[in-house]
């Protein structure tokens, strides 16, 4: 095992008493609790952490936070493997395994680096200009392009972990646990407001955990502990650690993901791996901090080049010794704050190259003098030298910043700590439609303050997120923002917390804007702006040259900022280089819009629990278990499971279906129809209302009678066919198709509440309250008479389309005499809890009459034989006249009536309803189309299509229903039902759509 060769003797917020073992690319290393994978790798002297996307250039750890562009690794193995994780964001745990990505065969030796050799042929957008010849070869080229692209490898097994969701409401949400966020939360909490503070780190403090300032006379970590304790003691405040707010949505809905178990090898039992918080906040404080920018110079991507703030963080917070000599390259004072910590940790800082002619402010200067470090002002690092950094080339920078001097100086070194200034983290602000403004003085995009809130959420930015740099300012700004947010939410603090006294550098010089180190025309080294996607200054210049000058074109053409780091360290430099190339100002170029997520979030966390089998609830009828116990197979109909058929042991499904269908025609069958939509309509005007809803006359429907009826959409097409039964003067009972219950209910409610609010109508969905069983067959009345506790079910007492209340085995039932099968039949509805009881009683009573349960398949066969329609026919494109149901249309207003007129005045021919009989004994293909000659050249004319098809056990032949143009003319003639997909072409004779009992005697008898 490697032993933390690059760890300091003491210091850092790591627990040296808790060593942790981990592996990287199979090599065992050791780190401490409190480390990130990145800090632990650095502590072991690992310099190479990944390969870049396009050129496969070797890369080291560049940053210390979520802005890391280089060190992407795959964490874990097997089903728990997770690719593309930033090593800087992985909390180390014992046994962690990590692997580098996007390299083959190994990180040190990567064949893909050939791309770097050929990079002169691969400028931005090269693929738009080539791979076009020969035309058919693109798939071939693409195969290799796809293999070379991508970063990590996805796990292939299903995710073993689960994810959770919570909703939360608060008066003030503070995003960020740094100096401004802590003070904002504390201030708001003291006012009595309900506060949530979300911070993506495991512990509060953020930049305070790697600060050289002193607060209230002590070190910043002590200050953080004190504030943390007070926050923990506030009953009205919740701290969400390891929680990243990633999306800012309408009306102050902020969605955050909490990593509950990513810092352990596997979640403990019953613990979700991650939890998504949907937080509705009255007011929001965005204390999201700022990100340090790099400075693009030649080969600025070599391992060893690192952000100055990262160097400081690794030294102070993690006790990492970046062993060797370092050159600091900066355009602002903040980089100087890294010097003392890294010196303490054992790095030899040999010089500071400062782009500013005047160098830094007095405090930083004093520091250099104290440690006798050379200052090279008005200069730039021109180039990093080596495969990993072995030295730098330094030149002077002209006062206009556009060129470098001729004299060059080489300095051997192992690290370059760079700082190009700071960019406020404005992503969430921008997501809430806040506008950004370019602040020339700070050389950064900052939130535009006082911007109209018309489009924005109710949020304010605080601290570094607002462009503030000094710690004292950030703390004070946090207090002000917390108070402001609480006040806006209706809470007035009695006493705001006093602003802590901060000792920090006072004498600072302003930043000098430097977006890329200028390059003499004869030099061609790569100056990387986007490290992950290998976008260089030259790429941006090429894009501009070719006219891709809008920011969005630039992004899309060069892929600038499109990587997994989402352009954290590249966007602003890229924009500025674009502006400079165009000769325009940065504000004129503008920025891109930021969209969720702020940082990548596991899909599983967004999905929550509604995945796989739990994607949608399963609906089962009250009799479901009975069916299952009798060996029924089930079919999915929308959310429902319906019994499809009940095969006997050894019986094929086809045989079972035929047996069940025959049984109904011969004696009696019983089928579960509980899934039908059921709606109760009550009120003085219920009849009038339904009269307007259905195409049929409903006003004249008598109590105790039922009607088969159609309702249309307002555009004239059929919405649903169902039944209307009048229970009482002012009460009706409707049934709808299984799949239409919700749509019909909303449709009726819409008309009742919006269009005809004057009608006294009350609608109640009772689908779940009623179970239903249909008893069908010649013996169905005998069965019913035996089951109904002596009720009179004779033709006189219960005629066709009649309804009556009765009891079955003591349970109340509503019997409606109607038919779907074409046989004499009764629907027996009962309260859902009696479903099984009634079902079993009906079966018991039917035993002498040879009753048998049948499923949806036999039901389908029976209704096809009878020519009844279902959604196969009523597919949303059909009108009543297509089926001859226009005879039901009354000559009064009903929904959709006037839209039907246009179909009577010419226009395209409509298909109408017909039956088909197979001429050669083959099954008529479902989904087939009716053609004259299936061997004709294509495209060929289709006269119609098969809507439903089955084998008819009654007719002993294959039949089908169809919609055909000029159906009447085709009657008796033969067409082909063509299904090229299944290579089935069956001659079919066009017939009437009713195959059995065309006089309709059986149901009425």
């Amino acid at each position: 095992m490697n032993r933390q060769t690059h760890r300091t003797e003491r210091g850092g917020r790591i627990d040296r008493s808790a060593p942790l073992a981990f592996t990287f690319d199979g090599v065992r290393y050791e780190g401490y609790r409190g480390d990130t994978l990145a800090s632990a790798l650095l502590a072991n002297g690992v310099r190479l952490a990944g390969r870049s996307f396009k050129y496969h250039r070797p890369r080291g750890i560049f940053a210390a936070g979520g802005e890391e562009p280089n060190a992407l690794v795959r964490i874990g193995e097997g089903a728990r493997a997770e690719p593309n994780i930033k090593a800087t964001q992985v909390e180390l745990y014992d046994g962690l395994t990590a692997r580098s990505q996007n390299r083959w065969p190994s990180l040190e030796l990567d064949v893909g680096e050939l791309g770097n050799v050929a990079s002169w042929l691969l400028p931005a957008g090269f693929y738009y200009k080539t791979f076009m010849w020969p035309g058919s070869w693109w798939r071939f080229y693409e195969h290799f392009i796809r293999k070379a692209a991508g970063l990590g490898r996805a796990p292939v097994e299903p995710d073993p972990d689960h994810y959770d969701r919570r909703y939360a409401f608060c008066d003030v949400l503070v995003v960020g646990g740094g100096p401004a966020g802590l003070m904002a939360a504390l201030t708001a909490a003291r006012s009595g407001a309900r506060v949530i503070i979300a911070d993506d780190a495991p512990a509060l403090g953020d930049s305070l955990l790697a600060s050289t300032a002193s607060i209230d006379g002590g070190d910043p970590m002590g200050f953080v502990s004190r504030i943390g304790e007070e926050l923990a003691s506030c009953p009205n405040l919740r701290v969400l650690g390891r929680t990243t707010a990633f999306g800012y949505y309408d009306d102050n809905m902020i969605v955050a993901v909490e990593r509950r178990a990513d810092h352990v090898p596997a979640p403990p039992a019953h613990c979700p791996r991650q939890r998504t918080w949907w937080i509705r906040a009255r007011e929001v404080v965005l204390a999201t901090g700022a990100i340090e920018r790099p400075l693009p110079f030649e080969d600025n991507d070599l391992p060893g080049v690192m952000l100055a703030s990262a160097a400081r963080t690794y030294a102070l917070r993690y006790g990492v010794r970046l062993a060797g000599r370092a050159v600091v390259f900066t355009n602002n004072d903040s980089a100087y704050e890294a010097i003392e910590p890294v010196l303490d940790a054992g790095t030899d800082v040999i010089a500071v190259v400062d782009a500013r002619e005047g160098g830094p402010g007095g405090d930083a200067l004093a520091l250099l003098q104290r440690f006798e470090i050379e200052l090279i002002p008005g200069s730039v690092v021109m180039r990093a030298i080596g495969r990993t950094v072995e030295g730098v080339e330094v030149r002077s920078l002209s006062s206009d910043g556009a060129s470098v001097g001729d004299a060059s100086r080489r300095m051997p070194c192992d690290f370059v700590f760079v700082s190009g200034g700071w960019s406020p983290t404005v992503h969430l602000f921008s997501q809430s439609r806040g506008r950004l403004r370019f602040d020339e003085e700070r050389a950064a995009f900052v939130p535009e303050e006082g911007a109209p809130r018309e489009r924005g959420g109710r949020e304010r930015s605080a601290g570094a997120a607002r462009g503030l740099v000094r710690l004292s300012e950030c703390l004070a700004d946090g207090i002000a923002a917390g108070a402001d947010a609480a006040r806006a939410a209706g809470f007035e603090a009695e006493a705001e917390p006093p602003c802590p006294a901060v000792q920090e550098w006072e004498d600072c010089a302003p930043v000098r804007a430097l977006w890329a180190v200028p390059l003499p025309s004869w030099r061609h080294g790569k100056r990387f702006v986007d490290l992950q996607n290998d976008v260089t200054v030259a790429d941006i210049e090429l894009a501009v040259r070719e006219g891709y000058t809008s920011v969005e074109h630039l992004k899309r053409y060069t892929t600038l900022g499109m990587g997994t780091d989402q352009g954290r360290t590249s966007n602003v430099n890229g924009l500025a280089v674009l502006a400079a190339t165009l000769g325009a100002g940065i504000p004129a170029v503008g920025t891109t819009t930021f969209r969720p997520p702020y940082s990548p979030v596991a899909l599983g966390a967004v999905a929550g629990r509604e995945v796989g089998i739990d994607q949608t609830p399963i609906r089962r009828t009250p009799m479901h278990d009975w069916h299952a116990a009798r060996g029924a197979s089930f079919v999915t109909v929308g959310p429902w499971m319906r019994a499809q058929c009940y095969p006997h042991p050894g019986e094929s499904m086809m045989d079972a279906i035929n047996r069940e269908a025959r049984q109904v025609r011969r004696s009696a069958g019983i089928v579960d129809v509980s899934t039908l939509g059921k709606i109760e309509v009550r009120g003085r005007d219920a009849g009038e209302f339904l009269h307007r809803v259905y195409i049929n006359r409903i006003r004249n429907l008598r109590v105790g009678r039922c009607r088969y009826a159609f309702m249309l959409r307002e555009d004239g097409f059929v919405l649903d066919d169902g039944t209307v039964t009048r229970i009482r003067d002012d009460e009706y009972y409707l049934t709808t198709g299984t799949g239409h219950a919700a749509v019909v209910m909303a449709h009726l409610e819409r008309y009742a509440q919006i269009v005809w609010p004057d009608l006294d109508v009350h609608l109640t969905s009772v689908t779940d309250q009623w179970a239903g069983a249909a008893v069908a067959g010649p013996r169905s009345r005998d069965l019913l008479a035996a089951a109904c506790d002596g009720a009179d079910v004779s033709d006189a007492a219960l005629p066709f389309m009649g309804c009556k209340d009765a009891t079955v085995a003591g349970a109340p039932v509503r019997i409606i005499r109607m038919t779907f099968s074409g046989e004499r039949a009764f629907e027996v509805h009962c309260p859902a809890d009696y479903g099984v009881h009634v079902w079993e009683a009906l079966l018991a009573a039917g035993e002498p009459f040879d009753v048998m349960p049948y499923g949806t398949e036999a039901l389908g066969v029976l209704r096809i034989e009878k020519g009844h329609v279902v959604p196969n026919e009523l597919d949303g494109r059909t009108i009543p006249a297509d089926f001859g149901f226009d005879r039901m249309e009354k000559d009064e207003d009903f929904i959709g009536r006037r839209s039907l007129e246009r179909f009577r005045v010419g226009g395209r021919k409509r298909k109408t309803f017909a039956g088909l009989v197979s001429e050669n004994g083959d099954a008529i293909p479902r989904g087939g189309h009716l053609v004259w000659n299936p061997t004709a050249p294509r495209p060929m004319r289709m006269f119609g299509h098969v809507t439903s098809s089955c084998y008819s056990p009654s007719l002993e032949r294959h039949i089908a229903l169809a919609l055909i143009e000029d159906a009447a003319d085709w009657k008796g003639r033969v067409l082909y039902a063509a299904s090229p997909l299944t290579s089935s072409f069956v001659p079919v004779r066009i017939t009437d759509h009713v195959f059995i009992d065309p006089e309709n005697r059986r149901p009425k008898g």
């Binding site: 009306d251 909303a746 919006i754």
Partner: protein
């Protein structure tokens, strides 16, 4: 996630509601009295403004009431809501 105030239940997330389209389109009170064209215009044509828009929402996961909401289609900001007969204010907001 938008916040829509149901006049009966109070402010609720928009996912509790089902959208029902333009509320300025009214079904002719006497369909037979309008021309065929006017009828079909009512069925098919919409102003579809970018900006304030009066629209129907049904509180399907709540009280099931249809309500009228004035919402900006450009900013998603909800300006007001009420029962179906509510007049949500001046004509400049359709």
């Amino acid at each position: 996630m938008m916040l829509i105030t149901c006049p009966w239940c109070g402010p609720r997330a928009h996912v509790e509601f089902t959208y029902g389209g333009d509320a300025t389109v009214a079904r002719p009170a006497a369909p037979d009295a309008v021309t065929a064209e006017a009828w079909l215009d009512h069925v098919y044509l919409r102003d579809n403004p970018r900006g304030p828009h009066d629209e129907w929402w049904q509180h399907t996961s709540g009280c099931r009431s249809w309500i009228k909401v004035r919402r900006d289609t450009w900013t998603h900001r909800v300006h007001g809501s009420g029962p179906p007969e509510a007049n949500l204010g001046g004509d400049e907001h359709r």
